[in-house]
């Protein structure tokens, strides 16, 4: 009946010696999410729900122009102590993320603009009043005088040498240029097919249900600035606020309450967190700001925009021999802290080859400064762009050699037999069978039958198409990888605390955070697994820097691997200690104790956890003299055996019908075959996949921030920025396999971001497959009906 693994074995759980059954709420169990009880019944507490006496609400005066010199800010006399500008915040340091990457140029972003404004929506002044409406009334009375400068609205213009400078002390508008200079000689010599394409992805907003929100107050007793903020990374924000407000970190406590979605939007230090905190400290009153949707759609238009020129070399079977690419990222005005403006391009250049076994690779990346909000990593970081470019290229090659795209794709993927595999850019693919994911998808869709139907449908003027998108996603990459990106902050060991409470229940404290992705439940399951305690007796506290051990937070699909791993390690150690304590009460040797259903057993004798806890906390007189004094509270640090990350992969397959008269795309089928290692909670994982795929379909078909030539955003409401709704999404079919990572606890891999990566590749390939007879190929996101219809009309026009 041995349940606890004496030695951690890196293999499938079922193969462990002595493993005898499931803990009902342990790893692999379909536990419904604990947090949903409050999240779905209106009992959650978001920043907007907090109540404080004498609370002031903040509104911002934001820049109405994309680019200009800020000459003056005039505040009516009556509002003098209610409006604050950069001149008031003189002691606050600008956000100036450094990077060690050669050639990187740092930008300075003042939390309230000083001297210059660089995008529409940049904060200029903060106004406070008892209600938000009154604060907005005040904001309207503040007059800003801006000398307009020519705006840099697109990256290609901003890149040119004679473009005006966004940052005066730079000699161009490039945050960074990188080059991967592989050898293309073989490809150039042997290619029989050369494909040249230009691809574009749109600028997007991430649109979490809850936008940003932050509330700060000065706690006299603790001598601390307490900051409630809607963030994925509370410990990082504590560091960021302390650094920029020039305070000791002991004087800052950051609490992330319930957070209504993050997607990366909330993994960076927000300028508003600094200005709200400064005002709260200055006035000694609680101050809150909650981002509204218009602020989000204007000042949060900060992600996804790439431009590719790409040349692919292949042989006459479609075997990919080389890629020569240039990637331009429209980074916006400022570097974000701590991930900088260059994470996107670094990831794009490194990940373009994706899951393919490619030998020849050359890639230049440009991170271009423009008059838009500063680029922020969004679910999938760069990979939705590179996957889109790569997947469309694979299909273009398949068409050029007149073969089935699924076959060309599969043959080009890294084969399972080659694992672990180091790819052309040095990525270490830890495990998996990428080719199988395509085979499974091909089978699930019914490729041959589909081709028949497609042919038949064309006779009747109907245009069906099938497209695939395959990706591999680096998740939970660690110390060395982040260090190689030159970032100012690098994640190391993730810590977690697991404790037996005096009543024998279990408490977990993690500095990571759960903002909708289900981590609260999933890390509870890990503890449940080790301690054999039902999850209903496990409470989880996250996000409060005053109560939790340090974690750099939730990003890079690291939560489950890292926080799960740390909880696993701490729970394992706690199990050992529980057994030692139990051995005193059971009068046996610790090694003879086993844990089962929340009780410690030796032979036929047992003692439950409540008795063990009571003895330690309340009746130590019952314990032997030589009791283990380390206690029943354990904090452990964890990172995987490798820093290079563990790679989740999947193939998405979409079947669409395109209405050639309206350009409308409808889904007939959508299938996902995914492998993210050990599934800690299959239900949560399905939810993650559906959600990610829905966002990916938003990228593929709907979402796009548009600007006029002066840099004014044209999509500042949800009537103009179109998100997919339930009616626009397919019925997703989902299957999994589990290739455990050899390098992480329980073989877990990250899963949070993956599903957002492949849809634009799969969907656009399907559209292009459908429209092939019309001679139409769409290489630009989103594929709106207008874009598709225009392309069809151009193809049909006689000239």
């Amino acid at each position: 009946m041995l349940h606890v693994f004496e030695v951690y074995v890196k293999t499938d759980k079922q193969n462990l010696p002595g493993w005898s059954g499931e803990v009902k709420t342990g790893i692999g169990a379909c536990v419904t999410r604990k947090e949903d009880a409050r999240l779905l019944s209106g009992h959650a507490k978001f920043v907007g729900d907090l109540k404080f006496p004498r609370l002031l609400e903040a509104a911002y005066v934001r820049s109405p122009l994309a680019h200009g010199h800020l000459k003056s800010v005039t505040i009516p006399e009556e509002y003098k102590n209610k409006v604050f500008t950069a001149w008031d915040l003189a002691e606050v340091l600008p956000i100036r993320p450094e990077s060690t990457l050669p050639g990187y140029k740092a930008s300075e972003q003042y939390p309230l603009a000083k001297d210059k404004v660089r995008f529409v929506g940049e904060c200029i002044a903060i106004c406070v009043a008892p209600t938000r409406a009154e604060a907005e009334d005040i904001a309207e009375q503040v007059v800003v005088d801006i000398d307009p400068l020519p705006p840099l609205v697109n990256a290609s213009d901003a890149k040119s040498h004679d473009a005006p400078r966004l940052h005066e002390d730079w000699d161009d508008n490039l945050f960074l240029t990188t080059a991967f200079d592989g050898d293309l000689a073989f490809a150039e010599k042997n290619a029989t097919v050369v494909i040249e394409r230009e691809y574009k992805t749109a600028r997007q907003c991430m649109n979490p249900l809850e936008g940003k929100g932050t509330l700060s107050y000065w706690d006299e007793k603790a001598g601390q600035l307490v900051v409630y903020t809607s963030t994925q990374v509370p410990h990082l924000i504590r560091t960021g606020i302390a650094q920029h407000l020039q305070m000791d970190q002991g004087q800052v406590r950051v609490i992330a309450p319930d957070v209504g979605g993050g997607f990366g939007y909330k993994c960076v230090l927000q300028p508003e967190e600094l200005s709200v905190s400064w005002v709260a400290r200055k006035l000694k009153r609680p101050v809150r700001w909650v981002e509204d949707r218009r602020e989000h759609l204007v000042a949060g238009a900060n992600t996804r925009q790439h431009h590719y020129t790409l040349k692919a070399y292949a042989d006459d079977r479609g075997k990919l021999l080389g890629i020569d690419a240039e990637i331009t990222v429209d980074v916006g005005a400022y570097s974000v802290w701590p991930f900088t403006a260059c994470l996107e391009a670094a990831q794009a250049g490194g990940n373009l080859p994706g899951p393919y076994a490619l030998e020849g690779y050359r890639c230049k990346t440009y991170s271009v400064a423009t008059n838009k909000p500063g680029f922020t990593p969004y679910r999938g970081v760069a990979r939705p762009g590179v996957c889109f470019a790569m997947e469309l290229t694979i299909d273009a090659i398949a068409r050029a050699v007149d073969r089935e795209p699924a076959d060309v794709r599969r043959e080009n993927l890294v084969p399972g037999s080659a694992m672990p595999y180091t790819n052309v850019t040095g990525k270490f693919y830890d495990s998996g069978d990428y080719q199988r994911s395509v085979s499974e998808a091909t089978q699930a869709i019914g490729l041959e039958a589909f081709r028949e139907r497609q042919k038949e449908a064309r006779v009747h003027g109907r245009f069906l198409g099938l497209g695939f998108g395959t990706f591999t996603e680096q998740s939970a990459h660690g110390t060395k990888v982040f260090a190689s990106w030159g970032l100012p902050l690098v994640p190391g060991y993730e810590q977690a605390m697991v404790k037996l409470t005096p009543s024998g229940s279990v408490e977990i404290r993690s500095g990571n955070h759960s903002f909708g992705q289900g981590l609260e439940t999933a890390i509870g399951q890990v503890a449940s697994e080790w301690l054999t305690v039902d999850i209903s007796k496990i409470s989880v506290l996250m996000g409060d820097t005053g109560m939790t051990p340090y974690s750099t937070g939730a990003y890079a699909s690291r939560g489950m691997v890292m926080a799960g791993g740390a909880v696993s390690k701490a729970a394992e150690e706690l199990a050992t200690r529980i057994k030692i304590h139990a051995s005193h009460l059971l009068q046996c040797k610790a090694e003879d104790v086993i844990l089962k259903d929340g009780e410690a057993w030796s032979g036929v004798a047992s003692v439950d956890f409540a008795d063990i806890a009571r003895a330690w906390y309340l009746r130590p007189d019952q314990l032997d003299e030589e009791v283990d004094t380390a206690g029943l509270e354990v904090t452990q640090g964890y990172k995987p055996d490798i820093d290079t990350g563990v790679f989740t992969y999947a193939t998405h397959a979409a079947v669409v019908e395109v209405d050639p008269d309206t350009g409308q795309v409808s889904f007939e089928d959508y299938y996902v075959f995914e492998d993210c290692g050990r599934r800690v909670n299959p239900l949560i994982l399905e939810g993650q996949t559906y959600g990610g795929a829905a966002q990916g379909i938003g990228t593929a078909l709907f979402e796009e921030v548009l600007y006029d030539p002066s840099g004014q955003p044209l999509t500042s409401t949800l009537a103009d920025y179109v998100l997919p709704g339930a009616a626009e999404l397919p019925h997703f079919r989902l299957e999994h396999t589990e290739t455990l990572s050899p390098y992480t606890r329980h073989g877990i891999k990250g899963v949070g971001e993956g599903a957002a990566i492949a849809p634009s590749g799969a969907v656009l390939n399907a559209i292009n497959d459908a429209l092939e007879p019309l001679g139409v190929e769409i290489n630009e996101l989103p594929a709106t009906p207008h874009k598709i219809l225009s392309a069809i009309m151009v193809a049909n026009s006689p000239e």
Partner: protein, 277 residues
């Protein structure tokens, strides 16, 4: 995104409401379902000093009928039409149009009169009611009423015949015979969004009525007498070329994609209507 300070009033009767519009220098906005005005207030695009809510006025929620007409109160909600709770001047069309407006949450509050007065060119009722040959009844601050035909109601995008001291009281629709046919087709980017193109065709042989209307153009809906007559005579879906020529004549400034979508919408709605037969 909070509105400017305003006074919110809920008159108990239509007379009380018109009284409020009389002899005042205040900037007043009339609110019905609030589904467009609400967001405009929050965006501070609308900055009234006072809002007069008419959604609770019983006079604006009545349905009256005569031998050849039905009069619907302006504050009747889209959902009430959708659910078939009201009399139908023509079988199924009002229900169909109502069910396609935005989302159910919007339909639960939004009203037919509110939608007309807001006069978004891409909204449904503006086009559908023009096709149905409806008129609207407007009450002045002095309590006088006047009826305006839908073809003269909308002056342009967000501009109508209703003056700032007037209230739209009701919509009057002619009754159609049981042999009447209709088609209504719109293209939108997603369910619930405003349309990119709308076409409607309503015909009743007994009344010698046939009207084609294009909606979601830059301004008021476009009525085509010629196409209405042609479809009635031939009983066939008009060709691309014919519709294109007519649109080029009626609305020469349309961009090619919009024009194409209007052509397709008319063809599809006519096909729909002819199959109803």
């Amino acid at each position: 995104m909070k509105p400017v300070d305003f006074q919110f009033t809920q008159p108990a009767t239509l007379a009380e409401a018109t009284q409020m519009l009389r002899d005042t220098n205040e900037e007043i906005k009339i609110m019905s379902g609030g589904q467009s005005l609400g967001p405009m207030l929050n965006l501070r695009l609308a900055r009234p000093e006072k809002i007069v809510s008419v959604s609770g006025l019983s006079e604006l929620r009545e349905v009256n009928q005569g031998e050849d007409f039905i009069e619907f109160g302006a504050a009747l909600r889209h959902a009430e039409f959708e659910d078939g709770a009201l009399l139908e001047p023509i079988s199924g069309m009002m229900r169909h149009v109502a069910s396609g407006i935005a989302y159910r949450a919007v339909r639960n509050r939004g009203t037919i009169g509110g939608s007309l007065c807001h006069a978004d060119p891409a909204a449904d009722w503006i086009t559908a009611l023009t096709a149905l040959g409806a008129s609207v009844r407007i009450v002045s601050a002095q309590g006088d009423t006047r009826d305006i035909d839908m073809t003269r109601f909308m002056h342009g995008a967000y501009r109508t015949e209703v003056n700032s001291d007037e209230i739209l009281k009701s919509v009057i629709l002619p009754r159609y015979s049981s042999s009447a046919v209709w088609g209504y087709y719109k293209t939108c980017r997603k369910v619930g969004e405003f349309a990119d193109a709308i076409a409607a065709w309503v015909a009743d042989r007994e009344k010698r009525y046939s009207r084609v209307v294009f909606g979601s153009t830059a301004g008021a809906p476009i009525v085509s007498v010629l196409l209405g007559r042609q479809i009635a005579v031939t009983g066939e879906v008009p060709s691309n070329e014919v519709i294109k020529a007519e649109l080029a004549r009626l609305a020469p400034d349309l961009d090619p994609v919009k024009q194409h979508l209007l052509i397709v919408s008319l063809q599809r709605c006519t096909k729909q209507a002819l199959n109803h037969d």
